[in-house]
Symmetry: C2
Amino acid sequence: MTEVEKGPLGRRRGRGARERILSASQHLFRDQGINRTGMDQLCAEAQVSKRTAYQHFTSKDELVAEYLRRFDPHVMPEVFGRTDLTPRERLLAAFDMPASTPLCPYIAAAVELHDPQHPAAQYARDYKTAIAARLTETAREAGATDPEQLGEQLALLLDGASARTRVLNRESFPTAAAIAAVLIDNAIPSSSARQPSDDRGTTGSAPVPVGGR
Amino acid sequence: MTEVEKGPLGRRRGRGARERILSASQHLFRDQGINRTGMDQLCAEAQVSKRTAYQHFTSKDELVAEYLRRFDPHVMPEVFGRTDLTPRERLLAAFDMPASTPLCPYIAAAVELHDPQHPAAQYARDYKTAIAARLTETAREAGATDPEQLGEQLALLLDGASARTRVLNRESFPTAAAIAAVLIDNAIPSSSARQPSDDRGTTGSAPVPVGGR
């Protein structure tokens, strides 16, 4: 059934169209929003016909979902893949966002798409759950007493920083990083920490070191 | 210049139209978004002519700004006006959101309106600054060592809870409340707290009680 755009490169030209559409969606959705970007504009920007576009994506909804799936498929590997850092340092590194990082596209999609059953809204939910799972796993490696709780808390801080940066039009990640440092200090018994122990009482149960992966 | 809708009640009918438009904007913007709600639909819902609508609001942008100004003009009086609570309890009460509270409309507007100079985006920024100021003022009354820092941190948590509730389609305010409790405990020396002191060391400088209003 797949019909490709006519062109000297045949099938390769067809694949190029798909990439061009996704590339156009990346900057148009970010710069003007999902709802204000129509298929006409996407096609013009990608230099493909609407017929071709609908051969690659059955609907705009499907394109929006694919745009999100493409955005960060490996869930922050630039943070969680850093073997040069201790797990505790990786938790903090998640808050080192470059200045002017645009609003998180998963939050943007969930805000713009009012239907929680929209395929893109479902993917946004999966992604946000995956980020919390990555943080939880790293919190466990760092020896947190309740890694699930810390993971979910840090995930909420990331979302808060992204949303608040957008509303205030001013960086909020440093604020979130400061909160994260407090939570990590509270959740990870000081004997697990890298700095010399200050010997103060911890928040409760004894440290439970869990083997790294 | 103000021309009112023709009707048996004359001027009063004109004022009614303004309220009906604002009322329609409240539920349409919340349920389907700002960008997907056109003036035609707003007018149909409010049962006013477009001519009348433009007599009350020079543009949709102005209507969106007024919709936000109307939403919570006194900045959470149901929390900050509670004289039956201690300042510390008021800080925590800010996180007692009823289940199914819709996404914060100021975040929604900032996400949907990509221009930070849009009058509604400016108002959203002012509102978010006002919330942080209210929290700061309350943190100062509660004896926080750095009330500005605590106020901004708690404001970020509120934004994170609202955004994350939307993305996950599941309540995140309890997570934010748990973080808030940790931050408040860390920022407010235990001698200021209501519960019996556990006599552990505080985070630094002595309590600086500041006169409440």
